[in-house]
């Protein structure tokens, strides 16, 4: 039969994935979920700021010793950083390439404009870019301390309070966290569809989970600058 010939010479699995719109979307979904899992851990760490400098700074120190004695000092932290950097790059490059392709696939706009998809859906691209820029600022602020007003290594509590004692620190963080919330709202549900987990009967549950996750993460992150502004944390 002449039918079965098309798939005889098949490229390798990573190649198939990277070439296919469905495969590249899978890369986005997996890297996005890795970042969301990280954000869940991150927000729990941030909330320790409400228990005072002692606990928060001790937590900051633990991040460097986690995994010991199996791992050397700071190895656990560096492994996390490498995984995250890989996820951000894979996610960003896929987003860029797929977006280019999507724009090329619809070169002519309709003359008659009409209503569009939800706000969270429409802001995935620009929201993602805002988040990417924020990640750079965030690292310069609280990791390398390059732009931090306090810049005291080993004293993350004091550095956080210093950041949120400036108006621009508050604006940058709050805007970015709203963008992250919107991104996760559409992103988490999308990832379920991309990975084939979504179906009609699960749709409501998945949407609720996505909204809940987005809300909890955004509220958790935003609570820190608000607490510093209102003097609850100082």
């Amino acid at each position: 039969m002449a039918l079965a010939s098309r798939t005889d010479r098949k490229p390798s699995l990573p190649r198939t994935f990277w070439r296919s719109t469905v495969g590249k979307k899978t890369v986005m979904a997996v890297s996005g979920l890795i970042m969301i899992a990280y954000l869940v851990a991150h927000v729990m760490g941030n909330l320790k700021v409400f228990f005072g400098p002692g606990e928060f700074n001790a937590y900051g120190h633990w991040l460097r010793t986690m995994g010991e004695p199996v791992l050397h000092y700071e190895w656990g932290l560096w492994i996390t950083r490498v995984v995250l950097l890989t996820a951000v790059i894979a996610h960003g490059v896929s987003a860029y390439q797929l977006s280019r392709r999507d724009i090329r696939a619809r070169p002519t706009a309709y003359v008659h404009k009409r209503r569009h998809a939800s706000y969270a859906t429409r802001t995935m691209r620009w929201g993602g870019v805002i988040v990417a820029l924020f990640i750079v600022w965030h690292i310069l602020d609280l990791t390398t301390l390059t732009v931090n007003p306090n810049a005291q290594a080993g004293h993350p509590y004091e550095n956080v309070v210093a950041t949120f004692s400036t108006w621009y620190g508050n604006v940058i963080y709050i805007v970015a966290m709203l963008a992250v919330g919107l991104h996760i709202r559409h992103g988490f549900w999308s990832a379920a569809q991309t990975l084939g987990v979504g179906n009609a009967s699960r749709d409501r549950a998945l949407k609720a989970l996505a909204n809940g996750l987005a809300l909890v993460l955004t509220a958790g992150f935003v609570s820190v600058p608000v607490a510093v502004m209102t003097g609850v944390v100082s």
Partner: protein
């Protein structure tokens, strides 16, 4: 009814196009949208002008030929095909914009007619089963669970009109392709090609220059046959499964 129409006119694939304005009078609200265009065309012919070219065949909502973007909506304001849309959905004195499907993979041939043969090539890549043809098989020879039969029927409803592509901001053919893949992949008759079907159809879909899916959901809203958005997730699942299962050489 008296209407103002703004219609996309384009001589051929290479010519530039533009919206042209026409007045039509004496439209009954029982007319279909295509009969309203017929009325316009009769007038244009009497005036010695070129009639507006548009695709149509069955005019019963089953062939998938008609393909008009009406006021920015693929197939217009109701969930049906352009041929089954009636003028009672509009008001006397309305201005109505009529445009062709817009997607890089669906080039305009003339006026409102686009070339949808990219869909045929997706079907050729795997939208078939390799059962021997001949006399009809005994109906009970291959039992199909009720849930699977319903799932297959739901997807078999796709008429290949392309409204999903026209409505998608990325010109993506994921809804169409998922309808075809899901229809055959769930049935025992489609099982021999279950893996190659989804891999080949998705690959040709990409090669034809359709965009990717961003789960905007515009496709499922526009689809006259109600192919649901989760069909895309179901196809993604098949695609991932096929990549795990299909034999791989070289």
């Amino acid at each position: 009814m008296k209407l103002t129409l703004r219609v996309w006119r384009q001589k051929n694939a290479d010519a530039p196009g533009a919206m042209a304005t026409y007045e039509v009078d004496g439209i009954s609200e029982d007319m279909s949208f295509l009969e309203m265009l017929d009325t316009l065309n009769e007038e244009l012919i009497l005036r010695g002008e070129d009639p507006v070219a548009f695709d149509h065949d069955c005019r019963e909502g089953i062939c998938g030929a008609c393909s008009l973007v009406i006021n920015g909506d693929a197939h217009g304001p109701e969930r049906t095909t352009s041929c089954q849309l009636h003028m009672r959905s509009f008001e006397d004195g309305d201005t109505i914009d009529v445009e062709p499907w817009r997607a890089a993979a669906f080039p305009v041939v003339r006026d409102l007619v686009v070339d949808r043969s990219a869909f045929d090539r997706i079907i050729q890549a795997g939208g078939y089963i390799s059962a021997p043809t001949g006399s009809a098989p005994e109906a009970h020879a291959t039992p199909v669970p009720k849930a699977d039969a319903d799932f297959a029927f739901e997807h078999a409803e796709c008429i290949g009109c392309g409204a999903c592509v026209a409505a998608c901001p990325n010109g993506s053919a994921m809804l169409f392709t998922s309808a075809k893949v899901n229809h055959l992949n769930v049935l025992p008759q489609g099982a021999p090609e279950r893996e190659t079907r989804v891999l080949d159809m998705v690959r040709v879909m990409d090669e034809e220059g359709f965009g990717g899916c961003t789960l905007t959901g515009e496709c499922a809203t526009a689809c006259p046959k109600g192919i649901p958005l989760p069909s895309i997730a179901a196809m993604n699942k098949e695609w991932l499964r096929a990549n795990r299962k299909a034999p791989r050489r070289g």
